[in-house]
Subunit: 335 residues, 4 copies
């Protein structure tokens, strides 16, 4: 498929490497490859995009990013630096790249301010569903920003308590999803989406388990037992999908899971993504181009592959990105 847009794609800056060495998350000896891919925007990355029909990428500062820096002032400075740096990179090729702003999130008011300064969509890592963070969510909603929730490693205490003896499960195989689904549902059930009805939350990996358990989640959210749960009493978690909750395919290249998700939450709630460089661009695109097609119809296929994100993040249709919806015919490379 031509014209694909991908939106959970990571990058980093040299100043971040000492704080967060990507090499520790991959097999021994492969860290430098990953580091190089994270630092690069316009070289190998763009070449692979061209070769694989990826028209556009929205970049995110690699997790844990500023949220992994304990000192508040340093974290905020790092966020500003990252945002300035990526703005410059995007400016070199705005028809191929945009970026989610990186946010330190130590201080909700400052995070809100940085989000405003960037005038842009906020980058996730927000594990905070409590009222004091409303100042941040308010700013995001006012900006029409969508917040992309990235998983991040557990802290030392949680790792020790829960994952010792099975550390390989603490990351992308399972722990990321287990933690992120808790935080997303925390945001929903604490009423954040109700207080800010223009707020949109995006998350990857085909929904971090949530679509599969949607019936059970709604069935078991026990308002009798927890009468003070803040979420609107006349809504189900299911109701937020396609309106305020959206998922991407990043890192879960399963056609059967995608087909299930289309039925359960609707094709308009789903967007293609890769999770580069933690996933390979060609692998993701071979899956999308050769395996997904033609197991789903061309309209949903084109919308998931490209058009949906232009509705979720309408600023992408304006200058300088100027992305336009494409028809199934325009996207098909069989012509």
């Amino acid at each position: 498929m031509l014209g694909k847009i991908a939106l959970e794609e990571c990058w980093t800056i040299p100043e971040e490497l000492s704080n967060n060495d990507p090499g520790k998350f991959v097999a021994s000896g492969t860290g430098s490859r990953l580091t190089n891919e994270l630092l690069d925007v316009h070289d190998m990355r763009l070449k692979q995009m061209d070769e694989n029909g990826v028209d556009f990428m929205i970049l995110s500062f690699v997790a844990p990013g500023c949220q992994g820096i304990p000192d508040k002032a340093k974290a905020e400075a790092q966020a500003r630096l990252a945002n300035d740096r990526i703005e410059a990179e995007v400016a070199k090729a705005p028809t191929r790249f945009a970026a989610f702003a990186a946010l330190s999130m130590h201080d909700p008011a400052q995070a809100a301010e940085e989000l405003r300064r960037c005038g842009e969509d906020g980058n996730g890592m927000l594990y905070f569903d409590q009222p004091e963070y409303d100042v941040f969510w308010k700013a995001a909603a006012e900006l029409g920003a969508a917040v992309y929730m990235h998983p991040r490693p557990s802290n030392e205490l949680i790792h020790k308590l829960m994952w010792e003896g099975r550390p390989w499960l603490d990351f992308s195989a399972l722990g990321y999803a287990d933690r992120l689904n808790m935080h997303i549902l925390g945001i929903v059930t604490n009423g954040v989406l109700d207080r800010f009805p223009k707020l949109k939350i995006l998350f990857g990996h085909m929904g971090e388990h949530i679509p599969y358990d949607l019936y059970r989640i709604d069935h078991k959210l026990d308002r009798g037992r927890f009468p003070n749960m803040p979420m609107r009493k006349d809504k189900l978690v299911r109701d937020y999908f396609g309106e305020q909750l959206f998922i991407t395919t990043s890192g879960h290249f399963s056609t059967s899971a995608l087909m299930f998700a289309i039925g359960e939450i609707g094709a308009h709630s789903i967007m293609f993504s890769i999770d580069y460089p933690f996933e390979s661009i060609p692998n993701a695109c071979v899956w999308w181009d050769d395996h997904v097609w033609p197991n789903i119809n061309q309209h949903d296929y084109t919308n998931i592959g490209r058009n949906n994100v232009l509705k979720v993040l309408p600023r992408l249709t304006e200058e300088p990105h100027n992305l336009k919806p494409m028809t199934p015919r325009q996207c098909e490379d069989r012509f």
Copy 2:
């Protein structure tokens, strides 16, 4: 459907109530109903089974059971008491009931011994995938026992660290699944199933999220990064389903999720269950009888509803239970 067998069905004894008051897990004012349903075997429970085409139930001592008692000796005594008591109940109607043995699990060797004493299938709550528990798994495998993994509430520390501010998510809506999928995958990836190839693990709620993420789990279990992960290097987690891993429908009455699971792990890996009294017998059976049928074919339908468990737990086909497989025709109430 006539002849249904259900296998994640709870009961308790009066002596357990002070240790584990079921009332605290339900809406205020409804605890006594739940308590009565847990204590009852042959009265309301059997009546509802008759009214809803449930031929047989395998009972489990309600979680956390003996595993919720900190004192090892008291826990072991409680397990013995529970197992003796349920044996007596089963003996009153062995063609309608069997029971999983309750196990304290504080001391793996003692748990193994109690499992042997009961000569029976072991009851789950086993969060122990480390080598010292091999003595227990060995006993289970030698007995041909299948171990049913029940979720249980998180302990106080975990609850405080992860679920404060969103306590409604810590239980059946999400936390049970998040914790249990970690423990099940811990058992698998730590090689327990490889060391005991006759061991079978059962779990409910349509697989505690695992079937939906199976592609990603196998894709991301990073042997390069964790070369010492004990699971056999020539197997995927996917490979254990239908041979050593089995799921039930308990508490997740979603036809679409069931249809997905049939494709992903195979109908022979799935068994009907209710999760009574945390779920209603009529609700579960209306779902199975009126909603699932005829969205899946009659052979898989009959096998999931009844026959599969007779292969997974072949002792049920012998005296005193003497359950036999039934054909789709024998199970259909349209005749």
Copy 3:
């Protein structure tokens, strides 16, 4: 679901009964019930619509209608009579009913003229994919009319040649679909949709087998062997769905088939319908309200149940029908 719109719903006039006795298509002794239901618009029919959340019906003159009258002049007169009569019925309750025009189709030019006279969507029974019928298709396209293709009984010769010895298969169980899929694909492959790109074709029964075989149909339409097949060489049959081909659920109340069709041709290509009085309004609505929900997401559910037809037949949004799209929330009767 509140607000449902149904569009393959039949009616007739007393003058048609001698030509086409509905009683011959049903079990002996039940013909008078069917006849009464066909003749009625505002009494039993409307009452059942109210009781079952059906907001609106588009009526079609029952097949074979005018196309079953061999004499051309009589057929045309019958079509005019039927169209005048239904116009009067619709005028009594235009917020609840509209009608497809009945067309004799003996003379394509006259059929086109009658379609213009009715200023309205054309009623199907068009087995004519040859160039001489372009005058009709042209008129339909100019009017922005959608043509609903109804199955009809085979003629005597075909019945004798193919269905003797198995007459029960010649009707709604199989023969209707086998004949209609031939005619629909005849229209598509003869290039009618290419010559009239604004033309829309609607058909019922979950697509008359076509969605299930779409891969094979496109795979096997052998342009090497039939170089003169008129359909555009750069399109697949698949490409017309959602743009010029649309299906309804009439008479095929299978959730699994619906879920498959959503994947294969897209939710936007599908519209709810009943096929009253050959199907029961409550049966169809219990299926839609209780069985389909929540196996598909609420957005697709609401669109299929109501909103899609307002895009396919936009005239329904204007006076006197004045139908408006509804949100999932407005349609849900759980509020």
Copy 4:
């Protein structure tokens, strides 16, 4: 996947070419390729089987075969010749090939006798669901033979009446399925399977549309209107799948259609096939090896790819073919 077995695979003899020139069914200029592939067994065919993991093929005499010869005596002689010839070919490599017997079917008693003479599974093309053919079905049932129903071109009269103006639809794109589903359902509804409960009917192309419409077929087989329909009154068409009706994937390489069929009729009712040489061996096998996997679980995958046919045609497990079931692990080429 290693070890695949395919069972709708065609061949022919030079003596048949004058009666039935395969070249007329393909694009001009490609007939000789097809002819060569039909005549060949041990050369190109076997080479491609080796290259693509096809362990075994069951060969069928290409349609219309003997049934296309109007003269009864000549047809019977041709059937005997074909059967003798293929027996000799199979004898050269019985661990790689078996054959369905070719039958002229002009005279049911003679066809039955030829079937007995071949001591073997009968080759389809049987459009005869009337009582006089019971002598044939009886013989097939007594032999434990499964009858594979192949589509064939329509005769001249039907072609002229129904397909003129759209001849490209009369063959594999649509007409084959429309005619074959009529004949299969004719056999079922005329009670042939009831009279011969050991009889098994096999058909290709993912079920010739029937699985998708199964709900509607059973819903609409109107016993009130046709009280003398011979099929057992206590059975549905659905009930015969997996017991007496089986389908193959030949020529319909759609993963979504396969996944639907698994749900609707059960994985045990489905067998892999290619339809060589009308389909390409590598294309079919790339679909099976790379696209189907891992969208269905490995047990169903292995059973459909190989093991199911050994239950449907158990003679294949004996000498000289001596085929054995394989485990998912044995079939997987990732080891």
